[in-house]
């Protein structure tokens, strides 16, 4: 495991991996996170994740010596990377038209038919690395390189909740209405975040997500179903 410890102050410690977005790094991060949460539950207030780092907010003070002991401990453990359980969630998306206002622009930009873009976007299984940016916003890895698109030079003032969008090498779903600089290709009719549920999201870090293209009829049907609380998220 190629990891580095960086003590920011006595209550903030960052553990980082080489700068890369990779499923292997995510697996190692999950193993270290799991170990720390098990062994040092009392000492840790919270662990935040990025693509290649864990940030530990500590309950108790820690010093440089203890940090290097902890690093040795983790390295010597040879933490078993049990491939943690990973569910595959299917997210229905109504692409194009009034919901995917940037699909045609994207199609021109890439010289691909809109159907090809939908195909390329709904084909992969995306890996959920972490939540950030907005409550319930999933950082997903696995966008087809042919869909890489520079972000808008000036962000839209308001992107509607549920919008599915592409920005840079990433794709994601806006859980709530927000300003945003990504290109909107479609919308998901079912809310992805509910603060009154515990947990407020359905997918866990390391789960996978796949988009399923739906027609407007099904969009309306699902929207109605989710309003009355009858929709159940689908996973394998």
């Amino acid at each position: 495991m190629d990891i580095r410890f960086n003590l920011i102050n006595s209550k903030l410690l960052e553990i980082s991996w080489p700068k890369d977005i990779s499923p292997l790094i995510l697996e190692e991060m999950m193993a270290v996170k799991g170990y720390l949460e098990k062994e040092y539950a009392d000492g840790i207030k919270e662990i935040r994740m990025g693509y290649h780092c864990l940030s530990l907010k500590l309950q108790l003070d820690i010093n440089e010596k203890e940090v290097s002991e902890l690093l040795e401990e983790i390295e010597s453990k040879g933490l078993k990377i049990d491939t943690p359980s990973s569910k595959l969630w299917t997210i229905p998306v109504c692409y194009g038209g009034e919901f995917g206002i940037d699909l045609l622009k994207l199609s021109k930009f890439h010289g691909l038919e809109p159907e090809e873009i939908i195909q390329l976007h709904s084909d992969p299984e995306y890996l959920l690395y972490f939540y950030g940016f907005l409550p319930g916003f999933m950082y997903l890895g696995g966008l087809n390189e042919r869909l890489t698109t520079p972000r808008k030079s000036s962000p839209d003032r308001s992107v509607p909740a549920g919008s599915v969008a592409i920005g840079g090498k990433q794709t994601g779903i806006y859980p709530c209405e927000s300003p945003g600089g990504w290109h909107v290709v479609g919308v998901c009719p079912i809310p992805l975040f509910d603060i009154h549920q515990d947990p407020p999201v359905m997918a866990k870090v390391n789960d996978r997500v796949k988009f399923r293209s739906i027609e407007k009829e099904e969009y309306l049907e699902l929207k109605e179903k989710s309003k009355t609380g009858k929709y159940q998220w689908q996973h394998d």
Partner: protein, 289 residues
């Protein structure tokens, strides 16, 4: 002790008033920020004076303040930024416990010093408790700022069962005039050349007018060649360096991850001081460790 639910009626909402407590913790893993009062020190003061629990919810006020009518008896106190407050047309003092009677009219005219003023109320506000906190935040709580005609619930106690804390030593607002801000090196600090370390630590930075509950931007430019980072965790107090060389200090409502290099991390006590800075005020960074 008989406590009756009562309401404050907002005749005018003011520019930016919201209910805050100490924040919402343990939910960053779902992308939910801490939120909470900008100046936690001021909240500790008002709740101490009123003998409230530490996490009692207060009203945070910025810019021109609200105009309020109280339904029934309670006690209030102002701390944090120093506002000009009129009770039924008569000025009241900063840090002083005010006895409120039914139909009393409180007008927060403006803020004289600082950025965020706090009105504490006996027992705290009884607004919606969402995921362990009453702090208002878009997408989490039903309300995000006070609007005209809004009401806010509190529990009125007609009779006093204990005296207020007698503060002979007056609360002062001069502590946040400090310009020295203590910082720790952030995760990307060591990627900056030594020359830039010196420049950042020896420079007086001016607070810009781009300041809100999410972040404070500083005016000066630090040109650099740092690459953007992969999206990584950030906290209130994280100082980001943008590609164009601006320093952005993240505040209580900041998102939980960011993609700009994190060059410094502001010490907790200094972050309270920093929140009270107004545009054009100068600050300097002092590196700890």
């Amino acid at each position: 002790m008989i406590k009756l639910p009562s309401y404050i009626h907002f005749v005018q909402p003011g520019l930016m008033s919201s209910v805050q407590d100490l924040g919402r913790f343990g939910l960053a893993q779902y992308g939910i920020p801490y939120s909470g009062a900008m100046d936690r020190y001021a909240v500790a003061q008002v709740n101490f004076i009123l003998r409230n629990p530490k996490d009692a919810a207060v009203l945070e006020i910025s810019g021109t303040g609200p105009e309020m009518v109280f339904e029934s008896e309670t006690r209030i106190v102002f701390a944090g930024a120093e506002p000009e407050v009129l009770l039924n047309g008569k000025p009241i003092n900063y840090g002083q416990v005010i006895d409120i009677k039914p139909e009393d009219h409180v007008l927060v005219k403006r803020i004289k010093k600082g950025q965020w003023a706090y009105m504490g109320i006996q027992g705290g506000f009884e607004s919606e408790l969402v995921a362990g906190s009453r702090s208002w935040y878009p997408g989490i709580t039903p309300r995000t700022r006070v609007r005209k005609g809004d009401t806010l619930c509190y529990l009125s106690e007609a009779e006093r069962y204990y005296p207020p804390v007698e503060t002979k030593a007056k609360i002062r607002s001069d502590w946040f005039r400090l310009s020295k801000i203590n910082v720790y090196p952030g995760p990307e600090w060591h990627l900056l050349p030594h020359l830039l370390h010196n420049r950042i630590l020896n420079k007086a930075f001016k607070v810009s007018d781009m300041i809100d509950r999410m972040a404070y931007q500083l005016e000066e430019n630090i040109s650099h060649e740092l690459e953007p980072i992969l999206t990584s965790p950030v906290y209130p107090g994280t100082v980001q360096l943008t590609p164009s060389g601006k320093l952005i200090i993240l505040m209580r409502d900041a998102q939980v991850t960011g993609g700009y290099p994190r060059i410094l991390q502001v010490e907790n006590a200094s972050l309270n001081v920093l929140t009270q800075k107004t545009p054009k005020e100068k600050i300097t960074f002092t590196l700890k460790k």
